[in-house]
């Protein structure tokens, strides 16, 4: 799985070029002077402490958070296989990220992807010796260099946990029917060819989306829209589950899903407040708006369901919470509590409609609503960030107004959304085709009826 990495790297490059929308930007060569002045920057222990913690919190989101959230919603015969997906993706992406993903995403490269200077994390230990603890500079040597207050290992690890959860979210769309081998191959390719480039666009100072000024604090485009649209493609290509619409597909244990959603919530504090890359006022505000939007969205979905279906379901409340978490993600470092409550309610109500009506109308089988919650929720959040962004939160001495919301920003946000949808959608289709050619995508019908736990892993829950 890890052998042909350079060739993957190359194809990534080529594909990225293929879909690159605007023209190439110049690789900012000058102006590395600023950062070099006055000795190397030192880390701040408080900021580092919070980022180490945030990394643990975001890992907690995937294992066991997402594993439980998803496993609780499938049928008994697929519970273990579903957990296995999250767990295995966590392992695979760790290695992919170390080998090349991080380098593609966060080195300077060009506007569309990074270079290969950090392949195999080459050189990442350089700044540690003798307790020197030099802080990491993102985009070092470019004129957008951003000096951090944490070591590069911590920055890399924090980003790794994002790289892990994104593909794991996709798995909700093809739950109950994908081959395990296909999943392993698909996820390896997807992480390299879709996640890493988009992360570069949006979060590397040299990325074209970032340079346009699109706002995405913690991953509305990179993580949620990206995973959502990829999930939709998977659901469309793989087709519906056997028995969809006739068999009872009631969740085996909504209790697991509640635990999972709760751990997602808690872990999301690391995700959003951690995206401040420091323990500061912005992190505090990000945590605040995360909490408020989540609660508002859960209540929004709950009341929408209560009114339209007669009962507030537990599954609805937790789905709403996740929708709120998704929607506030891009906005979290940019909006105030007032904006958060609007984003939350919008996410709760619209995702309720997407998961219970839109999906039904369009007739695809996105088993656990990867698109309905992450795709739609992400789009809502990304756009509303352009509306509610409050300038002073992102103000610096260099840019004293920060990035206030408004029509101009909203347009930029739309560009971010559309380019993610297009690139991720198309690339996902291509990768699905490749995977299908290699090992096939779906288990046999009889196997699907028997359940993936026994068929794929030889185990079952009693």
């Amino acid at each position: 799985m890890k052998k042909p990495r350079y060739s993957w790297g190359l194809s990534a490059l080529m594909l990225t070029l293929l879909f690159a929308l605007p023209a190439f930007a110049d690789d900012a060569p000058a102006a590395a002077a600023a950062a070099a002045a006055a000795g190397p920057p030192k880390i701040d222990t408080g900021d580092t402490a919070w980022m180490l913690t945030s990394t643990a919190l975001v890992l907690l989101m995937t294992v066991p958070g997402l594993a439980l959230f998803y496993a609780g919603m499938v049928r008994k015969k697929n519970v273990l296989a579903t957990m296995m997906q999250s767990f295995t993706i966590c392992c695979i992406v760790t290695i992919v990220w170390m080998v090349a993903g991080y380098s593609i995403a966060f080195t300077n490269g060009n506007a569309y992807m990074g270079d290969f200077s950090r392949v195999l994390l080459n050189g990442i230990g350089a700044n540690i010796s003798k307790g020197a603890d030099i802080a990491f500079t993102l985009g070092a040597g470019t004129d957008a260099a951003a000096v951090q207050t944490v070591p590069e290992t911590v920055y890399m690890m924090f980003q790794m946990t994002f790289a892990i959860i994104t593909p794991a979210l996709i798995a909700g769309a093809f739950a109950d029917r994908m081959k395990f081998s296909a999943m392993c191959i698909f996820m390896t390719l997807w992480s390299l060819l879709v996640y890493s480039p988009i992360a570069h666009w949006v979060w590397a100072p040299t990325g074209w989306v970032s340079q346009l000024g699109v706002l995405d604090f913690a991953g509305g485009t990179v993580v949620h829209i990206n995973a959502g649209i990829a999930g939709l493609m998977c659901a469309l290509v793989l087709g519906k589950r056997v028995g969809y619409g006739s068999d009872n597909m009631a969740p085996y244990n909504v209790g697991y899903a509640v635990i999972g959603a709760s751990l997602l919530w808690v872990g999301w504090f690391g995700f959003n407040a951690g995206s401040a890359v420091g323990a500061n006022g912005r992190a505090g505000m990000a945590m605040t708006v995360t909490q408020i939007a989540t609660a508002a969205a859960a209540l929004g979905w709950m009341f929408a369901e209560w009114i339209t279906k007669g009962k507030p379901s537990v599954l609805g409340a937790i789905s709403g919470a996740v929708a709120g978490l998704v929607a506030i993600t891009p906005a979290s470092g940019f909006v105030l509590p007032g904006g958060a409550i609007v984003i939350g309610i919008a996410a709760g109500v619209v995702c309720f409609w997407a998961a219970t009506s839109l999906k039904h109308m369009l007739g695809y089988d996105d088993s656990l609503d990867a698109f309905g919650v992450h795709g739609i929720g992400g789009i809502i959040g990304a756009l509303l960030t352009g509306v509610f962004s409050y300038g002073p939160l992102s103000a610096t001495d260099a840019s004293p107004d920060g990035s206030p919301g408004g029509l101009a920003q909203l347009k930029l946000q739309a560009i971010g959304v559309v380019s993610t949808l297009v690139y991720s959608g198309v690339m996902t289709l291509i990768i699905l085709m490749i995977t299908k050619a290699l090992v096939g995508l779906r288990v046999g019908q009889e196997e699907e009826r028997e359940g993936l736990d026994i068929v794929l892993h030889g185990e079952q829950i009693f």
Partner: protein
């Protein structure tokens, strides 16, 4: 002896058990089952997919009684398990040829 097998609504179990004690029924065996019948489950909606839940949780009671108790037991069960709403369940009666208490080796009606 007869085996009386009753399928009832789960929350009626305690009532049924209490109704049988005065008749001298000393033992019974209970299983969790799923029933399919005229009572249709709600149409359940999981995040947009509607499923007709055809199987509903029920309790199966199996109790072996001497022949002469059969009527009374059927009567008692049907009264205690009755709600009048669809899905109340059924009572079936089968013949038991032999019975044995493992602990003592007693057989037939002694064994109940």
């Amino acid at each position: 002896m007869k085996l009386i097998m009753a399928i009832i609504k789960p929350f009626k179990l305690d009532d049924v058990r209490e109704a049988l004690t005065p008749l001298g029924v000393q033992g019974l065996t209970v299983s969790e089952v799923k029933g399919f019948g005229r009572q249709k489950g709600q149409t359940e909606i999981y995040r947009g997919a509607e499923y007709h839940v055809s199987f509903l949780p029920k309790i199966k009671i199996e109790v072996v009684v001497p022949d002469d108790l059969t009527d009374q037991v059927m009567e008692a069960i049907s009264k205690a398990a009755h709600t009048g709403k669809i899905g109340d369940g059924k009572i079936f009666v089968m013949d038991i040829e032999r019975a044995m208490r493992i602990r003592t080796g007693e057989v037939d009606s002694e064994a109940l």
